[in-house]
Structures are given as structure tokens and as C-alpha cells.
């Protein structure tokens, strides 16, 4: 039996498969299809200080091997998250990571402060990379100085594991990754969606109301792989690879590129039990290849 545990900052996860923020709701929504206890961790939808209705419709569209979304961080707000959503997760034995965002450094700090003390929260993922919010949002993820300040301020609010989720929409991921590291992040997750758009040529309308949106799914896997690989060269933090993972082999690819764990996003929509199949695929690979510890795969690419 392969040892599947992985360490992400101050957390030990029972296995390297987490569900990605915004693709698994607040947790229990997929419980009919997935035994949540088998997940390495569960990352909830981005929460902001105030509830948000999100962007106008249409918000999603299918693309070649992917999809666009511009949900606009629709969420119940931090108070209802604490009062109504987290308690639903009490009965499950999996790491819960709260994904958080704000429009200013202060807002980030305040929402982290409120959430971090909840006992069901095992870690914080800071979303600095959502392309679908107009104010602020993206800038945090693209400007190293701003990012460093933001992470430092979040760091000072909590002793729990702080994961910073990076945007791929930058010329070079390395300075951004280094900024998050020097701000005190315990780990980085990457990537969030890639900016894209589409047009319905018959109505001549953009497919998404806000015109540009975030691309996810298998289409972005090679891009995510390159970002993970580059970040792994630049920082010494555990990385969580995200982007187009459809099966265990895709996940292993991310591990070999330098990720310590992975998140499954769009696949959840395609196959509601997909995240567990990813886990089983990793296990099968390890068994076939005689891998004792899944962590042995991390960065195991042979540079030739």
C-alpha cells in the first residue's frame, strides 16, 4: 500500500486530491456522488466579507476541451458561511480549506480573521487571481509587491496554513510566486483560470455577459503544468497543481512537475465522482510502479 499522505504547510492531508474552489460548492452538494471522507481536502467556494450576487447571465459557456466562467465570486458572505455552511462539514473527516477574497488588503485581512478561528477550517486559500471581479481582484495576483503585502497581512491574522492561489495570466509566474513566499505563504496553488472569451456569431453577442472570462478544463492543463514547473524552480514551498485534471495520470503529471498535491475543478461537473477516480488513478499508478510514498513523485521529472 502506497503512503498517500502529503504535507501542505502545517497540514497533513490523507491524500493529495482536493476539490478546487468554486467547483464543489460548500462541500455537501456532491455528497450523493462522492464519499467526502475519502478526499484529501475540500476547498470551498471563494467567500468575501459581504454576500455577492455575482455577474449577470450568461456566466458559463463550453469551449474546446474546456469551459469559460465568469461567476463573479457569487457567494453567501462570510457570516452565512460561518453560520450555515461550515457546520454542514462537521460530520466529515477531511481537511476543509476556506478560499477567501476581498477588494482591498484590509478586506482580505478581515475575512481571514473571521474565518480562521472556526474549528472546522483547517487552512486558508487566498484567492488573488479571480479574473472575474472588476475591482482589485486580478491586480493582487499580478503585481508582486502588492501580493507580498497582501500575503503578509493575511499571514499575520492566522496560524493556520495559508495557501496563495496564483493566476496564470502573468508574463512570468516566478516573481509572483517568490512574492507570495516572502510574504509568508505556506504553500501556493496554481493555476486559477486563464483569461479567454467567445462570441455567438449568430446573435453577435459575447458568450459571457462580462465578455472576457476564465478558461478551465483540459485545454489549460499544459499551461498549468508549465506554471507549476516554473514555480517549483523559483520557490521552496509545497505547490498544489490545478488545471484540467481529468484522471490519475494527469494528477501524477502535476506531481512530477513539482506539485505536492492537486485540485480537481471542472472534472467535477463532467463526472461528479471524478475526484475519487483521480485518487484511484494515482493509487493504481503507484501500485503498478511500486511507489512507496506518493510524495516520492513530487518533482520526480527526469530532466534528462
Amino acid at each position: 500500500m502506497t503512503d498517500l499522505t502529503v504535507r501542505i504547510g502545517r497540514l497533513t492531508l490523507k491524500n493529495p486530491v482536493l476539490t478546487a474552489s468554486g467547483t464543489f460548492g460548500y462541500g455537501p452538494e456532491y455528497a450523493d456522488y462522492v464519499d467526502l471522507n475519502r478526499l484529501g481536502g475540500l476547498i470551498t467556494k471563494t467567500i468575501t466579507l459581504e454576500p455577492r450576487g455575482g455577474n449577470p447571465m450568461p456566466r458559463i459557456a463550453e469551449m474546446p476541451a474546456g469551459m469559460l466562467n465568469s461567476i463573479g465570486l457569487a457567494n453567501v458572505g462570510v457570516e452565512r458561511y460561518l453560520a450555515e455552511k461550515l457546520p454542514l462539514l462537521e460530520k466529515y473527516e477531511t481537511a476543509v480549506i476556506a478560499n477567501l477574497a476581498g477588494s482591498t488588503v484590509e478586506e482580505y485581512a478581515r475575512v481571514v480573521m473571521k474565518v480562521q478561528k472556526h474549528p472546522r477550517v483547517d487552512g486558508i486559500e487566498v484567492n488573488v487571481s479571480c479574473p472575474n471581479v472588476r475591482k482589485g481582484g486580478l491586480a493582487f495576483g499580478t503585481d508582486p509587491d502588492v501580493l507580498c503585502e497582501l500575503v503578509r497581512s493575511v499571514r499575520s491574522e492566522t496560524d493556520k496554513t495559508v495557501i496563495v492561489k496564483l493566476s496564470p495570466n502573468v508574463t512570468d509566474i516566478r516573481p509572483v510566486a517568490m512574492a507570495a513566499a516572502s510574504g509568508g505563504a505556506d504553500a501556493l496553488s496554481l493555476i486559477n483560470t486563464v483569461m479567454g472569451m467567445g462570441i455567438d456569431i449568430r446573435t453577435r453577442k459575447p458568450l459571457i455577459s462580462r465578455i472576457t472570462a476564465g478558461l478551465s478544463g483540459p485545454a489549460i492543463k499544459p499551461i498549468a503544468m508549465a506554471k507549476v514547473y516554473e514555480a517549483a524552480q523559483a520557490v521552496d514551498l509545497p505547490l498544489i497543481g490545478i488545471g484540467g485534471i481529468m484522471n490519475g495520470e494527469d494528477a501524477v503529471e502535476f506531481l512530477m512537475a513539482g506539485a505536492s498535491a492537486v485540485q480537481v475543478g471542472t472534472l467535477n461537473f463532467v463526472d461528479p465522482a471524478g475526484c475519487l477516480k483521480v485518487l484511484e488513478g494515482i493509487e493504481t499508478f503507484c501500485r503498478e510502479q511500486g511507489i512507496a510514498k506518493v510524495s516520492d513523485l513530487v518533482g520526480a521529472m527526469d530532466h534528462g
Binding site: 454576500p51 447571465m57 456566466r59 458559463i60 463550453e62 455577459s209 483540459p218 461537473f269
Partner: protein, 263 residues
Amino acid sequence: MYSEQCPIDEQRSITESVFLLSFTSRAIARTGRPGQFLHIRVRTGIDPLLRRPLSIHRIDPQTGQISLLFRVVGRGTRLLKDMRPGDPLDVMGPLGRGFDLSGNFSRALIVAGGMGGAPVFFLIDALLSLGKQVTLLWGVGDGREIFGTDEYVRKGVDVRVATEDGSLGHRGYVTELLDVFLKTHAQDQSFRGFVCGPECMLLPVQRFARKTVFSWQASLEERMACGVGVCQGCGVRIRNQAEYRMVCKDGPVFDLKEILFHD
């Protein structure tokens, strides 16, 4: 809710572009309700990537057979139509909240347009088994898309058809049939209205509905990813509700009079 591979039993063409596909799933047959939908993966692999939502057209509780009625409009439905008996169909469901058939009403008025006919058969089956009197106003472009009505006529359903090509029934729109019908029934408290069809039909029906004394339920369509309320992709605005409701989870059936079309 289930996610299963179900063997296809039959694939039948109604017209060149409308197909009736049936498969067997005892679990879905047992739990599915009229107005609910299934989320179908038309092909393994990534092309197309997302599932396609299709209403439950009909359920045979005896055999566990479920049928879908769909129009070929794009890549997904084209691939679905090419599936053959014996092929496995990847089905997730039943999803969403169907029609509310509880409460006090003795007569049902159903307005269906185009592929809005899909969920209607199952709805009528349920209404009849509850002993309701049913009127169906069904409008299509091409008369050949009207099928299966004889059975319901025999069972006492008042079926009225409108076709744009004039090949069957009234030549024109279903809303014209509705207009006529409501002249005598708009104030009749014993009715409940049900409407299924494209947004361009729901809009005028909503205007009519607001002038009736009885309540109306409408089945909506929105692009979907997850189908279970997770992705927040399929929102609709409902009057007096601050937040978007999700068509997949809070619907697809909503109170017609309260829907705010045109975001």
C-alpha cells in the same frame, strides 16, 4: 440522485431533427418526477466536455424505461442522435425540482412550444393519475413534430395543436390558442397553468398568465455546467428575491409570474 451507465433500448426519429431515445434505469425510473431533468454525457473524452441537460420525457415505472425527446441543435445532440441500442448512456439524475402537483386544483392547462413538448408527456401522465382534467395547447413549427397525442385524446385530454406551417391544427402560434382559451377560462380558480418552451414563448405566455387568477409554473432552460447548484452558472432572476436562483437546483420549474426575464 444517481450517476450511471444505462443501456440504450431504442432510438427513434420523429422528424429529421427530433429524436426519441429510451434507456433503462430502475433507480431513475423510481425517483424521477415530471419536470426534472437528466444530465447526459454524450461521449467519453473531452469533445464535447460538458454534460447536456434534457428533460425526462416519459417514464415507464413497470419496465424502468425512461425516454428523452430532443432536437438536434449542435454537436452534443448530434452525437446523442448517433447513439445506438446497446450503447451505454452516461446519465446523472434525476436533477432539479419538478412541477408542483400538490394543492388544490382540478384542471391543468399546459402550454408547450417546440421542444417544450419534451417534459409534457410525463407531466400529463402524472396529472391524469391524480385525476386532473388536462388541456394541452401544443405549438410547433413543423406539424410532423406533433406525435403521440392520440393516446392522450383517448384518455380524455383536450389537445389543441398550432403549427406555423399550418400542416396540423391551427395555423400560427400556440399563444393564439392560449388567447382564445383564456377568453373563457382566465378567471377560473380551478385551473393551474404549466408552460414549457423557449424563452421567446415564455415571455408572451407570462403576459397572458399575469391576467389569470390561477398560478402558473414554467420550466426554464439555461446553459449548465454542474447541474446540481454548485457552479452558479445557470442563474435566473425571480421577483422579490435578492439573489439569483439556479435553474438546475431551484428549478428548472419556477413560478411563471415571478420570473424576471432579460437580465
